[in-house]
């Protein structure tokens, strides 16, 4: 039995339009999505009318501070919304609901964006507001774009590292990081190496890793279904400081005797982190007896991670890997619009007083009313 998604359809309107606002980290994203009436399916796909994004970039060696990130979002949000509406060729009053990231994420940036959402909702005639869990946004957009109906989801970003599987109207967390997120780990190592943050530190680490040859020994810290990364970061940060700091300590690869380079460090860090991620994903697949993997979150655009996941899934009976390109896997507004519209179509909306954002918002706290498989 599939869930009726049209119980709240407006009479005489054969589609829905939703505006999505994302700003939980350093990316400000605004997206406009359109659903036709009826079930979403391969011949009734959600349509992306616009998907605009502006990223707050900091100089090399610097992370993004909440205060400046919120300032970036505050001063750009109106211009980005205007562009999204123009691209989508719609007016504010065409919109059925305004969806915003309610959490998890950084407090101040979330706040900047939700103020914009509340203002528009009242400006365009009391349009309903829908609070969206950032991770659920990634999952639902990934499912819609790739067509994967019930994948195990690996959510890997600057702020999150979780292995998630759907069961009984919840997205359950099967395994997760016990300390820092993988994106955060890669970004902080990029800062240690003073790698540029343009377009993204993780992207630049990936390019360097491609040139890496020697693998250095790093601790492998998987604990059951969970993993921990702060120890690895501490270890490789220390090594990098010794090699490139005042000491300029020369480190040599045992087997070839050749000197270890920064590229080798990036290569080794990726190999150990991604091996751990693929292992806990495979463990969740075996546990729920699934053979579909969907990677979401900014780190999901890393080709080496996708390649390793593909190698793992090929070993499972007609295993299938799904990933989205940088338009969707990196934080964006369209995913918030899509997930928010699904909530709206099952009657889940937020009164203004319930639109307070929260930094801690666990994926399994959300009732997935639009699924009942």
């Amino acid at each position: 039995m599939t869930v009726d998604l049209d119980k709240y359809a407006k009479p005489g309107k054969d589609h829905y339009i939703a505006l999505g606002l994302e700003g939980s980290a350093n990316k400000l994203g605004v997206g406009v999505i359109r659903h036709n009436l009826g079930q979403l399916s391969s011949n009734n796909r959600a349509q992306v009318l616009s998907n605009v994004r502006d990223t707050y970039i900091t100089p090399p060696g610097e992370g993004f501070l909440p205060r400046d990130t919120a300032r970036h979002h505050r001063n750009w949000v109106v211009r980005i919304i205007k562009r999204a509406l123009i691209d989508a060729k719609i007016k504010g009053t065409d919109i059925d609901c305004i969806c915003f990231t309610q959490g998890p994420g950084m407090g101040a940036p979330l706040q900047s964006v939700v103020i914009a959402a509340r203002t528009l909702a009242q400006l365009w005639g009391d349009i309903p507001l829908v609070g969206v869990n950032h991770c659920i946004g990634h999952i639902e957009m990934g499912r819609e774009i790739t067509g994967a109906d019930n994948p195990v989801v690996l959510y890997v970003s600057g702020g999150n590292t979780q292995v998630i599987a759907y069961s009984k109207q919840r997205y359950r967390i099967f395994g997760e990081t016990l300390d820092i997120a993988i994106g955060n780990c890669l970004d902080r190592f990029a800062r240690t190496l003073k790698i540029p943050n343009e377009p993204a530190p993780g992207y630049n680490i990936e390019q360097m890793a491609k040139k890496g040859k020697h693998l250095i020994n790093l601790p492998y810290t998987v604990k059951g279904m969970d993993l921990s990364m702060s120890g690895i970061l501490g270890y490789i940060d220390q090594l990098a400081k010794e090699m490139f700091g005042k000491q300029a300590k020369k480190v040599v690869d045992e087997t070839t005797g050749e000197p270890i380079t920064a590229e080798d460090l990036c290569f080794s860090l990726q190999e150990i982190l991604f091996s751990m991620l693929v292992e806990i994903t495979e463990r969740a697949l075996a546990h729920v007896n699934s053979n579909q993997v969907l990677i979401v979150g900014g780190v999901g655009s890393n080709e080496r991670l996708q390649e390793m996941m593909k190698l793992m899934i090929q070993d499972r009976k007609n295993g299938q890997i799904y990933a989205t390109d940088e338009r969707f896997c990196i934080d964006n507004g369209i995913m918030i619009a899509h997930a928010g519209l699904l909530s709206y179509r099952t009657g889940q909306t937020n009164d203004i007083k319930d639109t307070v954002c929260t930094q801690r918002f666990r994926t399994d706290e959300v009732f997935i009313k639009w699924r009942d498989d």
């Binding site: 492998y220 604990k223 059951g224 091996s275 495979e282 390793m308 190698l311």
Partner: protein
């Protein structure tokens, strides 16, 4: 896929006939009728042995793969050997090849009348399918569940954590329970880790044996408490109270702590 791995084990162990018993995320479990070096070993079952094989993972860098396979295999043999030394029912180790991720071990369990292996899961399923409610909750079932509780209690009293307790990882050898599959096992004295171990089993029994799971789980905990009382001199009762309190916390928040977004 499994055939690629079966051929891999075949060339590691030539002339040893193997059948796949199960395939988890990390390892394959085979059954064979050939003992590696002696026909009449000092084991519960002769003529049936288990081979656990950790194949190399193509996605992992060869150096990482080799060291993980080796460490995990050594870790599991160490854990099983310690159980044997402590007299906690578990398969005895026959032989091991750490570099290739192979462990030969004792085959535990017998065939139930329906041909399934006598794991706690299969036995309870068999009763639930073919027997009356009284039979499913009779003294024998009660005593087996209590013995399972005592077995896990012994494990925890030695600060050992199984890590993947399910009703299929408990084998009955003429109604005496034994633990198997130590791929996720570890050592910890923390009552939190022991509570999570119990919680995972409780959830597994709830989902696999939902009809009478309340009774099973209750008897199991009674056995767990009983063994702790027997060791009250070594602080067993205090440990039980602490672990039980943590179990109530874990039940509330689920396995996962709340995480910063």
């Amino acid at each position: 896929m499994t055939d690629r791995l079966v051929s891999q084990i075949q060339n590691h162990l030539p002339n040893i006939p193997v059948q796949v018993v199960s395939q988890g995320a990390e390892a394959l479990v085979f059954q064979t009728s050939v003992h590696p070096y002696i026909d009449k070993p000092y084991l519960k079952n002769q003529g049936k042995y288990i081979i656990k094989y950790r194949p190399s993972k193509p996605y992992r860098h060869p150096t990482i793969d080799a060291s993980i396979t080796k460490n995990r295999t050594i870790g599991e043999v160490k854990f099983m050997n310690k159980l044997t030394k402590l007299g906690i029912n578990a398969p005895s180790v026959i032989s091991a090849d750490y570099n290739r991720g192979i462990i030969w071990m004792e085959f535990l369990g017998t065939e139930l009348t329906n041909g399934d292996i006598s794991s706690l899961k299969n036995w309870l399923w068999y009763l639930e399918k073919n027997e009356s409610k009284e039979k499913c909750l009779n003294d024998q079932v009660q005593s087996v569940c209590r013995k399972v509780g005592k077995l896990i209690g012994k494990l925890h009293l030695n600060d050992m954590i199984h890590g993947d307790l399910t009703s299929s990882n408990i084998i009955l050898e003429d109604f005496e329970p034994a633990l198997i599959d130590f791929g996720l096992s570890s050592y910890s004295g923390l009552s939190e880790d022991k509570a999570v171990d119990l919680y995972v089993l409780e959830r597994a029994i709830l989902s696999t044996h939902s009809v009478f799971s309340d009774h099973y789980n209750q008897w199991l905990l009674e056995g767990y408490e009983e063994i702790h009382k027997e060791f009250s001199k070594q602080g067993g009762t205090k440990k039980y109270v602490e672990t039980y309190r943590k179990l109530e916390d874990v039940r509330l928040r689920g396995r996962k702590r709340s995480m910063l977004g």
